[in-house]
């Protein structure tokens, strides 16, 4: 993908100074995929909910654009708004209990599949296992791995200390290991 001719900062300036909606729509077009994909991960694949939250995210971003300081990347700021929108919705709908209904696959499922099939199956199982994590733990994994943020950036997005992010990641991995135990390499 080629780098855009106009930077995010320039587009933001146009929105702030001239209320340029075309500039804002360009910002949305640039970041919609990453924000929607991030929210899909956070909502365990619920595409409709993720898109609703993504719309809320961009509307909030438009209203609060004045408060955006150029210290962090615009995408990081958007992730933070998206995460807050997700948290607000999760509190409202109390859907986190849903995750407990997911049962681990039986061991027979993992018996010597072909490498491609094995990778695909692991991916599906990983997505299911992600649903078992708490909202905070899943958010920490999504920010640190899927959004490729450093622990410091993830801490800014999640609004918590760096140590807490590390703890969430550690606990999340422990839970994932327990859920995906059948995928662990066997001792010879």
């Amino acid at each position: 993908m080629s780098s855009p001719a106009i930077s995010d900062a320039q587009l933001i300036a146009r929105v702030l100074v001239q209320d340029d909606r075309h500039a804002f729509s360009e910002l949305v077009r640039r970041h919609q995929s990453t924000v929607r994909a991030c929210l899909r991960k956070l909502t365990c694949g619920n595409a409709a909910l993720a898109d609703d939250l993504a719309q809320e995210t961009f509307l909030l971003a438009y209203r609060n654009l004045k408060s955006f300081r150029q210290e962090a990347k615009f995408s990081t700021w958007l992730y933070r708004i998206a995460y807050n929108a997700f948290l607000a919705d999760a509190r409202k709908t109390k859907e986190s209990a849903l995750a407990d209904d997911v049962e681990p696959e039986s061991d027979e499922h993992y018996s010597e599949p072909a490498p491609a099939a094995r990778a695909a199956t692991l991916k599906i199982d990983l997505e299911r296992a992600m649903a078992v994590l708490s909202d905070d733990e899943r958010a920490a994994i999504v920010q640190c791995y899927h959004n490729d943020l450093s622990h410091e950036e993830a801490a800014r997005v999640l609004g918590c200390p760096v140590g807490t992010v590390k703890t969430h990641v550690f606990r999340a991995k422990q839970k994932l290991k327990a859920r995906l135990g059948a995928w662990a390499p066997t001792e010879s």
Partner: protein, 117 residues
Amino acid sequence: MSKDAQQTASDDWLEQALRADAREHLSVYLPDDGFTARVVSRLPQPALPAWRRPVLALLWVVAGIAIAAALPTWFDEVFGSVAALVLHRFTLSDAAVALTLLFAATSGALVLAARAD
């Protein structure tokens, strides 16, 4: 294999799985499919420019003065009628007429009620 080495190996496969999932996540581009248009259509209406509010208020004041200046007789008539009504002194004959009308209205209502029964 030592316990630490086993732990590292145990971490590696999960780390690799997470990295692979993340790589796929980052490489996928979700098509817009009207998403941007939906967001833009929900943006709040643009606020009036700062200079328009005082100008609009000034226009209303000018219009009010113009109407008041154009219709002086209408104002005179309205205020004259209101003043006459307020300053009117009631006489004994006015009271007698009012009482008679009240009595007639009450009697008529009673007769209508009796017929209805």
